[in-house]
Amino acid sequence: MIAFDILLGLGLILAASGVFLSTHLFRSVVLFVVFGLLLAITWTRLQAPDLALAEAAIGAGLTGVLFLDTLGTLRKAKQKRRSKKEPRP
C-alpha cells in the first residue's frame, strides 16, 4: 500500500516534469492528460471520490480536449503563415 503511494506520488512528479520538459507541445498535452488521470487515482487514495470523478471528467478530460483542440488551430495557423510566406520570398 505504502509502496503504491510512493510510486503514485513520484509518478505525478514525473508526469508534471514531462509536461514541462517535452519540446513538443502535443506530447506535453498528452502527458498533461496522463497527469490528470494519475491525479484522479490520487484523489481516491485521499478518500475523495468526488474529486476523482471531477478531475477525470473536468481536469483531465475537458481541459485536455480544450488544449488539444487549440493545438490543432495553432498548428493550422502556423502552416498558413508559412504557406503565405513561400510564394513571395
Binding site: P49, D50, A52, L53, A54, A57, I58, G61, L62, V65, L66, D69, T70, T73, K76, A77, K80
Partner: protein, 229 residues
Amino acid sequence: MNRTLRIAVAGTVALGTLYALLVAILWVPEIQVNLPQQVALNLEQSGIAHPITAVLLNFRSYDTLLEIAVLLVAVVTGLALRERDALTASTEQARDPMLHALTRRLLPLLLITSVYILWSGSYAPGGAFQAGALVAAAGVIARLAGYDIASRADVLLRLGLALGFILFLTVAVSAMLGGRPFLNYPEGWAGSLIFLIEAVLTFSIGLTLISLFVHAPGDSSPRGGADDD
C-alpha cells in the same frame, strides 16, 4: 531576454518556494478547529446526506453562487470574442461516418450517466459539476461528429447558459422575502430545492462548457471579420 539569467532567477524562486512549502507542511501547528465534526453535526439539518454536496450547496453555497458567476463571465467573454464564420466552416469539415455512428451509441450513455451522477450527488459522490462535465463531454463529442448544437439561437443560448444561475439566485433571494437570511432554504425544503438547483445547474454548466468549446475562435475561415448581432 538573457536566458541564463531567467533560468537562474526562476530556479531560485522555485527552490525557495519548495523549501518554504515543505517547512510549512512539515512543521504545521496542531489544528484547532474541527470543521468536519461541525459538518457531521449539521448534516441532517442541511437536507443533504452527502457531506460534500451539503458544503457546496448549503453551508458554503455563496462560494458556489460566485463560482457559477465565474463560469458565466468566462462564457460571456467567449461569446464576445467569437467569430461568426468559424462555426459553419468547422461543422462541414467533420462529418466522419465512423465517428457519427460511434456518437450515436455513446451520447445516450453519457447523458444517462450524467443523470445518475447528478442524482447520486445527494447521498454519494457526484453532483452538478461532475454531471455537467459529462453533459459537456457528450456535447463536445457530438460537436466533433458534426452535430450542430448550441450555436445560433442567440437569446435562447444565453438564457440556457444563465438558467442555473437565475434559479439559484431566485431561490437565494426568495428566502429574504420570507424574512430569512440570503441563501437560506425554507425548513424541510432544503433537500428538494438543492436537487432542483443542481438539476438545472447541470444543464447550464454543461451548456457553458460546450459553448466555450464550440465558440472558441478557430482558424477555419479565411477572414477574421467578426460582427455580432
